[in-house]
């Protein structure tokens, strides 16, 4: 006679076998507070565990490449600003450098200085945005408020320089559209003095908060092999320890005259290449950007702010693939020109497009909350993903 224990065990194990639990197909739809825009992730979950998370994109496909075939080279700049609308200055700089490489215009030194200053300020603003929204994803509302408060100061500087708050059309082919004024220089300097200590404050506020660490360490781990296979660049690559920054390795503009170092993830809190590493690399990159702007802001040389460029930019026939380091990775423009006023074909290789394609492989078998943490750490902008 089996003891009551065995009977209960037998009954329990027997009844659990044919207990069929279905997997839930969940649409983390195009409208979702933590998908950073119109990204749709089709999630197959077994309870809390994510079986598969296939991202669906294309909800913000605005036909950039079709537009760039029907507008002249100066007219493409407003569309390039709207690609990665959190880092418009970096996109515009990438586009301007690509076209100048083909035409061979000599950009005056003053314009180069102004360009690097604005590009680095834009990098700080973009990383502040990523810091704010990543805090929001993890439930920390103050990070969003602090991040936006400081970002507004940078937007005020840009409005004084270029006339617009978010999409500037400031970097024209051959230089910059308006000269930098002494008030803008003074305001930048006061911003730098105000902002430098704030980065450590924000690290104490969010990055070294134990709850934040527990939520992001060992989550969404990427190794170097996956990076090369997916073609990931920028913060994703530096997050897993590879010291590769285009501004250092293949320096364009005047980055070779500026010294700064490249922060690299080192697996302090968890394994190497997890969400926390990527976050801390972005925070330390802000410090480096402040250092760069400090070195340039005081000795902007005199001279014209734009080189000799006619009303219509004439580009000789040819092809060029030029890469620049954007806050989200290496943004490249592959321009095919047939010598007419309009480009024959413009291909924008966007880093976020490849970043989000890794989502399925990163989030197999994780909790749904970690799926949100991984999407937040990829720091995607849908304007650039869908082009």
């Amino acid at each position: 006679m089996s003891t009551t224990h065995e009977m209960v065990e037998g009954h329990l194990s027997q009844s659990l076998e044919n207990l069929r639990t279905d997997e839930l197909l969940l649409n983390m739809g195009p409208q979702h507070p933590s998908t950073h825009g119109v990204l749709r992730v089709v999630v197959v979950t077994d309870g809390e565990i994510v079986k598969a998370a296939k991202p669906e994109i294309g909800y913000l496909h605005r036909c950039f490449e079709k537009h760039s075939e029907n507008v002249d080279y100066m007219g493409v700049a407003p569309y390039v600003d709207r690609l990665d609308y959190l880092a418009s200055m970096n996109n515009a700089m990438g586009w301007a450098i690509a076209v100048e490489g083909m035409v061979g215009i000599e950009v005056p030194r003053r314009a180069e200085f102004i360009r690097v200053i604005t590009a680095e300020l834009q990098r700080i603003a973009s990383h502040l945005m990523s810091f704010g929204t990543y805090g929001l994803d993890m439930g920390a509302f103050t990070a969003f408020m602090f991040g936006f408060r400081d970002r507004e100061m940078i937007l005020d500087i840009f409005e004084m320089m270029s006339g617009a708050r978010l999409l500037y059309n400031y970097m024209w082919v051959g230089g910059v559209s308006r000269d930098i004024t002494p008030e803008a220089i003074a305001k930048t300097k006061s911003f730098l003095d105000y902002f430098e200590p704030k980065i450590d404050e924000y690290n104490d506020l969010l990055s070294f908060n134990k709850i934040f660490i527990e939520r992001t360490k060992d989550v969404g781990v990427i190794d170097v092999e996956t990076c090369h296979s997916y073609g990931l660049t920028g913060v994703m690559l530096r997050g897993c320890g590879v010291k590769w920054d285009l501004r250092k390795e293949v320096p364009y503009s005047i980055y070779k005259e500026v010294e700064f170092d490249v922060p690299v993830g080192s697996g302090e809190m968890g394994t190497l290449g997890d969400c926390w590493d990527r976050h801390i690399v972005r925070m330390r990159e802000m410090k480096e950007s402040v250092r760069i702007v400090r070195q340039l802001i005081d000795n902007i040389p005199a001279g014209p702010h734009r080189g000799k460029v006619g009303k219509v930019v004439k580009v000789p026939a040819g092809e060029s693939f030029s890469r620049t380091e954007c806050p989200r990775g290496e943004l490249a423009f592959y321009i095919v020109s047939d010598g007419s006023a309009k480009p024959f074909r413009v291909r924008c290789k966007s880093p976020c497009f490849l970043n989000i394609s890794t989502l399925d492989e990163l989030t197999r078998g994780v909790m749904v909350a970690d799926l949100i943490a991984t999407i937040g750490s990829l720091d995607i902008v849908l304007g650039e993903v869908d082009r």
């Binding site: 739809g29 195009p30 409208q31 979702h32 507070p33 825009g37 119109v38 294309g58 909800y59 913000l60 496909h61 605005r62 036909c63 079709k66 537009h67 075939e69 029907n70 407003p78 569309y79 709207r82 609308y85 959190l86 945005m129 969003f144 408020m145 936006f148 408060r149 970002r151 507004e152 937007l155 708050r165 978010l166 999409l167 849908l382 304007g383």
Partner: protein, 165 residues
């Protein structure tokens, strides 16, 4: 006796309309660059919360106001129509930015862009700009509140529930 200045005589409609227009709960619904300016409006510098409009609800079930901020693409259009239908009845739409007004810079070659969100959703206030300044969005919210005051009180209590179909 009740001191006369402390008593406010008003119709139930006025109170209903006053309550509605001062607690418009928007739907978190950012599409593109205008969404960043909408978030900047919601953040600390230009506070949308001062107009009772700062509580961004994630689900359409609890939202009264849909701010369409960004480019409406054809793939997204059916979703916007579904979201609009899921919102409870007294609902309003603000179309923010040139893209959702009439297609904006993407009207010429945008094969995948819907030329204006008012083709799928009735719009109450059009906000110009690309992207509009946060103050422009605040002014649009104030214009919408004016429109609610005029529209509600003129139709009476039951009228306000029977929005023109």
């Amino acid at each position: 006796m009740i001191p006369s200045d402390s008593v406010v005589m008003t119709s139930v409609d006025e109170v209903l309309s006053w309550g509605r227009r001062n607690s418009l709960w928007p739907l978190t619904f950012g599409l593109a660059c205008c969404a960043i300016e909408m978030m900047a409006t919601g953040a600390s510098d230009y506070d949308l919360e001062r107009f009772g409009c700062g509580v961004f609800r994630a689900t359409p079930r609890q939202a009264d106001l849909m701010i369409v901020a960004g480019t409406v693409t054809l793939k997204m259009a059916s979703r916007i129509r579904t979201l609009y239908e899921q919102m409870p009845e007294p609902k309003w739409v603000i179309s923010m930015g040139s893209c959702s007004n009439k297609g904006g810079p993407y009207w010429h070659e945008g094969y995948h862009v819907l030329k204006g969100v008012d083709r799928i959703v009735p719009v109450d206030v059009y906000v110009p700009g690309c992207p509009p300044r946060p103050e422009t969005l605040l002014e649009a919210v104030m214009m919408l509140q004016k429109k609610i005051r005029v529209q509600e009180s003129s139709m009476g209590l039951l009228g306000s529930l029977r929005k023109p179909a």
